[in-house]
Amino acid sequence: MSVLDILRGVPDPEIPVVSVVDLGIVRDVRDDAVVITPTYTGCPATLAIEKSIREALDASGHADMRIETVLSPPWSTDWISEEGREKLRAYGIAPPSRHQARCPHCGSAHTEEVSRFGSTPCKALHRCLDCAEPFDRFKCH
C-alpha cells in the first residue's frame, strides 16, 4: 500500500466523509516526509490532523517518515479534489464554487446565505428557498 493510499484512509476530523488527501491538506509525499498545509491558520483540527497522520504512518510501518508543514502557497478551496467535492455534496455540504450555492438535498439553486460563518472555520450557513432545508456550504477560500 503506497503512503498516499494510507493517507487516503485518514479522515478529516470535522468532516470525516472526506480524507486529508481529498481536502488538499496533503501537499506532497516524499521518501522521508509527508508535506501538509493547514486550511485556516486557526483551525483547531490542524493538530488533530497531524496526530492522525502520525498514527496512520506509524501503524503502517512508516514511523521513520517526518511530517512537514508548509504555508506557501496558501491553501485554498481549489485544492479540494473532484472526488472530495462529490463526497461533500453526498454528505449534505454544498461544495465551494464561485456560483450560487446549490442545495445538497434537492439540487435547487434557489438558495440564500443565512450567515457568513458556520459550525467550523471552513463553512458558511445557507438555506434552500425551495425545500426550506438549512445546509452548510464550504466557503470559497
Binding site: 485556516y40 491558520t41 486557526g42 504555508l71 506557501s72 502557497p73 457568513r116 460563518f117
Partner: protein, 223 residues
C-alpha cells in the same frame, strides 16, 4: 524583525482574546459563531507570527503588560455589539491592507499571504454590520455612532512609519462603508498612541490576567 513579529502577533492575539469573550454571550447564535471564528483565525495568526519571535506560548502567557506591543485599538473593551463591530471594522480593514503589502516580505510573506484571505473575510463581515446597524433602527444607529466615536481616537496609531502609506486607501474604504450606512465620519480628534512602546490602557492588564492565569498558576500544565 523580532519587534515587527511581536507587533503583528500581539495585535492578533489580543483581539482574538477579546473577541472570544463574546463566546456564549453574543446577541444571536450566528454572531456568536462568527465572532468565535474570527477569534480563532486571529489566534492562529498570532501563533505563527509569535513563532517567528520565539516560543509562541511563552510569549503569549509569560510576558507582562509592558512587554506587549499591540496597538491600543485591539485591547479596548468589547462594550456593546456595535462597539465591537466598530473596532473590528477599523482594525480588519487596516489589517487587510497591511498584510497585503507584507505578502512580498521575505520573513513574513508566507504567513501574510495565508492570513490576508481570512482577514479580507473579517473586513467584509464587519463592514456589512456597520451598514446594517447604521442604516437600521434609531437605536442601532445611535449605538453604531457611539461605538465608532469611542474607537476613533485609536486609529492614528495604526499608521506608523511602516504603514503610513496605507492611510489613503484605508480612508477611502472606511468612507465608502460609512456612506452606505448613512453615517458621518467621526470628528477628527487627537489620536492616542503608545501601545507599540508598551504604554497600554488599563484594560490590557485585566485581559492578560484572565488569559494568562492558568499557565502561570500551573507552569507546564498540559491537556
Amino acid at each position: 524583525m523580532r519587534e515587527r513579529a511581536l507587533r503583528l502577533g500581539d495585535d492578533s492575539l489580543i483581539l482574538g482574546q477579546r473577541l472570544s469573550e463574546w463566546c456564549g454571550h453574543a446577541p444571536m447564535l450566528e454572531v456568536d459563531l462568527a465572532l468565535s471564528n474570527i477569534a480563532l483565525d486571529l489566534v492562529g495568526q498570532a501563533t505563527l507570527f509569535l513563532g517567528l519571535a520565539g516560543n509562541a506560548d511563552e510569549l503569549a502567557f509569560h510576558r507582562d503588560v509592558l512587554d506587549f506591543k499591540n496597538c491600543l485599538l485591539v485591547e479596548q473593551p468589547n462594550g456593546d455589539f456595535a462597539q465591537t463591530v466598530a473596532r473590528q471594522f477599523l482594525f480588519s480593514n487596516w489589517q487587510e491592507l497591511m498584510l497585503r503589502e507584507l505578502c512580498d516580505s521575505k520573513e513574513f510573506g508566507a504567513i501574510a499571504a495565508k492570513s490576508v484571505k481570512e482577514v479580507a473575510y473579517h473586513a467584509r463581515y464587519a463592514s456589512e454590520w456597520v451598514v446594517r446597524l447604521g442604516d437600521g433602527t434609531e437605536e442601532s444607529r445611535a449605538r453604531m455612532v457611539a461605538g465608532l466615536d469611542w474607537m476613533w481616537r485609536f486609529v492614528d496609531e495604526l499608521f506608523d512609519d511602516e504603514t503610513a502609506g496605507l492611510r489613503g486607501e484605508w480612508d477611502a474604504r472606511i468612507d465608502a462603508a460609512l456612506m452606505e450606512a448613512g453615517l458621518d465620519r467621526p470628528k477628527a480628534r487627537r489620536g492616542i498612541k503608545g501601545g507599540r512602546d508598551g504604554h497600554h490602557s488599563e484594560h490590557l492588564g485585566h485581559l492578560l490576567s484572565e488569559m494568562q492565569f492558568l499557565p502561570r498558576a500551573y507552569p507546564g500544565a498540559v491537556w
